[in-house]
Symmetry: C2
Subunit: 318 residues, 2 copies
């Protein structure tokens, strides 16, 4: 069984939307990523940090998904990372109300010995300094290193981010962050620029407008599954990354072609996360539901363009 | 050879962008649609109206593309429809500077006898009153009636628009217009509502984010070809509609499945229009270029998701 190590936050989130409030729910990139990956056939190991207020039921939830938590430090006398945010009618807009880093502020992980030779390493959104230190603790280079980041790190720790980008295989980032990081104004120009910074693969996420996968000479587009209704997008990007890594850990095929399917797997998992607050929907999926939605995805994009040239004019454009 | 009749404006456009100005160029929905369709194997017939200032070189351009202009009224002592607009760095935003309807104001076409039994009728963006009158002049119902409209008609002539929607097969509109017309806030909810208004097919265009084709129980997504750079999007929607109808006129297959390929053909043609001002790029295509870009499109979206269930966890989600 292949091994995936996920480094990222565990958190309490408090989400406000025009249609209601979540209360304190389980959140954090590692929570979404690990649960998403858990539906695939692999071993999942999380490196994170929580306070004494992190509920036993969440430890139990991860355990019930066979997620190894040896790498999660518990600081009994401190508090878990807390984020409160507000969404508006247009779900693409959100406002951070409170960010209490709490234990996350001192996160400087020592990677457990049994985590130092993973097949895949997912560095979820965190300080690039922490991300870099984790890579350096590996005994051998993972087959695939995936990194997620956000505008905050691009603005405040660009130099450190550029350093870690040289070490990784795949960067996932949203379109606005891609423009910010590259200084370019179109997706393709941005992708070209970012691929020069180190990673050989790049995924630019466009939220409800889907995602683009790039290598130096290839490009693949995957739409988001168009749902009748999106409840709340918190965690969709982390779910996507976790689903993608989970899928990739089910074979030794790290090619662009196989990454396409991984992008679809990630999109499919993310389409569940947005249906409810927090990890509620993601934590209770059936494989049959996942397979059904993969079929829906295939149905949404498949076509059979006629191979004949008889459709063209006999005179114009010759 | 199947027949396509296109009803729409011919115009002079004057386009200003951060990177330059077009000067007075050939524009109007019928110009883009007819040129796009002309690369397919069909007979194209245009119903429109121009003033005495409409240049001979444009008549010649259409003739050289085998586009029949018998249905184009020329009012020698009046002026052609004129539109001036300004685009900003974000090409999705544009501002209309001048709209001189000129001859278009009195457009009340009599459909030539030879145009009254087309296979496909494309009612490009125009007053729904004119669109309705044209349908009523047909000797027999066309196999496919495609209608394009815009926010202006939704706001000012909703009742007339609703009447014409009952007569057509396929409506193409953009996402913002779909929200406006349906009163819904998500694409899928909007589509469901609009399909109740009459058309059995609906295409919602999302500009650089692609297009969605809907029937009552099916959905298909086609991305826009991600170009390194978009010069100017004027005419992209009209090109899309023309390319779509041109493709559909090359067979007797009016199924949802074949419409998918037509959406791709339309997207491919539109990807050329945005590369230059006006019809310049669209008017001088080679079939080999079009075929190459169809291949690019197929390459952009094709994948082969593993059919095995071995990728899934043996325990989670059972």
């Amino acid at each position: 069984m292949r091994q995936l190590v996920i480094v990222g936050s565990l958190a309490y989130d408090d989400i406000e939307t025009p249609r209601g409030r979540s209360g304190r729910v389980l959140g954090g990139a590692a929570a979404y990523s690990a649960l998403a990956a858990s539906y695939f056939d692999l071993s999942i190991n999380v490196i994170s940090i929580v306070g004494g207020d992190f509920k036993q039921e969440f430890f139990d939830l991860f355990s019930s998904h066979n997620i190894d938590l040896q790498g999660v430090e518990v600081h009994q006398h401190e508090k878990t990372f807390y984020w409160a945010g507000k969404y508006y009618e247009d779900m693409n807009q959100r406002q951070t109300l409170i960010t209490d880093l709490n234990v996350l502020e001192k996160f400087d992980p020592t990677v457990p010995d049994s985590y130092r030779e993973p097949d895949i390493l997912l560095l979820a959104n965190l300080s690039p300094v922490v991300q870099f230190k984790v890579i350096k603790q590996m005994n051998r280079r993972p087959r695939l290193i995936v990194l997620d980041t956000m505008d905050f790190w691009i603005m405040t720790m660009l130099e450190e981010l550029m350093q870690v980008l040289k070490e990784i295989d795949l960067l996932t980032i949203n379109d606005q962050e891609a423009y910010m990081l590259s200084g370019k104004r179109t997706i393709r120009a941005a992708a070209e620029e970012i691929l020069k910074m180190g990673p050989r693969y790049l995924i630019i996420k466009k939220g409800e407008h889907g995602a683009l996968l790039f290598s130096k000479d290839k490009m693949f587009f995957a739409p988001a599954l168009s749902l009748p209704d999106i409840f709340n997008p918190t965690g969709a990007g982390d779910t996507f990354a976790g689903g993608l890594c989970g899928f990739m850990a089910t074979s030794d095929d790290y090619s662009f072609e196989n990454l396409k399917s991984a992008v679809i797997a990630g999109s499919v998992l993310a389409s569940f996360t947005v249906e409810k607050f927090g990890t509620e929907r993601l934590a209770s999926l059936k494989q049959t539901e996942i397979m059904q939605r993969i079929d829906d995805f295939i149905e949404l994009v498949k076509f059979d363009f006629p191979k004949t040239s008889h459709i063209f004019s006999k005179t114009n454009g010759q």
